[in-house]
Amino acid sequence: MNTGDIAWILLASALVLLMTPGLALFYGGLARSKNAAATIMHSFMCMGIAGVVWVLWGYTLAFGPDVGRFIGDFSFFGLSGVSATEPGPYADNMPHQAFMIFQGMFAIITPALVTGAFAERMKFSAFVIFTILWVTIVYAPVAHWVWGGGWLGELGALDFAGGNVVHINSGVAALAAALIFGRRLGFGSEPMEPHNVPMVVLGAGLLWFGWFGFNAGSALAADGTAVNAFVVTNTAAAAGILGWVAMSWIFDSKPSVIGAASGAVAGLVAITPAAGFVGPMPSIIIGLIAGILCYLAAGLLVRLNLDDSLSVWGVHGIGGTWGALATGLFVGIGFGELAEGVARGEQVLNQVVAIVATWAWAFVVTAVILWVLKVTIGLRVSDNDEAVGLDVAEHGETAYRL
């Protein structure tokens, strides 16, 4: 253990924590004014719910001693045996709890990402139950598969900082939610433009800032891998802006500010699984293509008449999938290397297996949770409450009194 690495991981954890309020603003700004506070509440509540769930049973399910390459056991329930001073099984340069809390921040933001799919129409009570269940039976297992000694890590699928665990997982859950929730009232006929562009950009700025902790922190040490992850994170985000802005300029006739913010996020999503495995030049390509692809994916869903309110699938699902694939395509170019004895084709195949597995799990289990909630307590607020807006209807508050 050394102070540099401990300082690094704690500060990286703080940065990742900040991403959730950042996301709250990003999503809140994209929503309509009458749902601004409720949309922000979704993300903020994830800090409360997942923050407690993680230390109680989330961490042990994801990172407890392996059971059948599928899930962790209950050894670390309530953090028992997870020391604040001694290293744990995942990193010997820092106390076990430092690793635990860094991972906990990921467990907070991932369900928060999903909330963009059902923004502006979900019942708050259903949301609370959904989030508890989703962290427990969608997030924790996938985290275990990839990083906790599960089968995907075993297989050799690469996911540096959460392309599968965080982005495909949340993005595909969003797709399931879009299907099961159905469209918002007025979708496709009424304008549902972002109500606060500066708030969206501020949110994107905080996400970008926090993402340095997310990606470079995933090196779990203040070393060359962290440096590389940091550099490619910044570069891919920059390239993502250029990609999305160019698309909006070409196809929608004007360079979009919301597009710039979305493009940065798309670039950041795509570089996430690759950050420790590729160098700066591939990161430009990864970010640029992410900006283009996510723009197209978000539009595709709308043309399919599916209402993923804040384009979570387009940005995180497709961006994450592209990133996971690109990790296989570019690993070793400029940084890192293919695992000994693994050909590139084989690596790409491993990536595809991981992608398919995550898509399937996230889609099916999320759908089941939502379907059960739908037939029991119900998922959506009443039509009248939806027209009034969730801020007043669900929280008795008004976002702005200017």
Binding site: D252, S311, G314
Partner: protein
């Protein structure tokens, strides 16, 4: 007395206000409104490439109470300063006003305008 209610383009408000003051009309009140009219089909493309026709556009409502004798002059000043010739220039409505009171002094009628 009459109340002139003019719904105009936000970007013309300063012109109109300046023109009115030059013509001797200083008192007026403006409100931010949104309006729909012949001006249609502003197709907006959202974050996700979703195209929606936005039919409600931001406008400014300018209200001004004038004496009957000044009515025509005021209208022509507004029309001149607000016009661009493009659809969406707006409308002017004239309504009767029966009484005017200045709160500060309690003055009534034309003296209060």
């Amino acid at each position: 007395m009459k109340k002139i209610e003019a719904i105009i383009r936000p970007e013309r408000v300063n012109h109109v206000k300046d023109a009115l003051v030059d013509a001797g009309f200083s008192g007026l009140t403006t409100t931010q409104v949104t309006g729909r009219g012949a001006q249609r089909g502003i197709v907006h493309t959202g974050r996700s490439g979703q195209s929606i026709t936005i039919d409600m556009l931001p406008k400014v409502k300018l209200e001004m109470v004038v004496t009957n004798e000044h009515l025509d002059q005021a209208i022509s000043v507004i029309v001149k300063a607000a016009r661009t010739g493009e659809i969406g220039d707006g409308k002017i409505f004239v309504q009767p006003v029966e009484q005017v009171i200045r709160v500060r002094t309690g003055e009534e009628g034309e003296a209060a305008v």
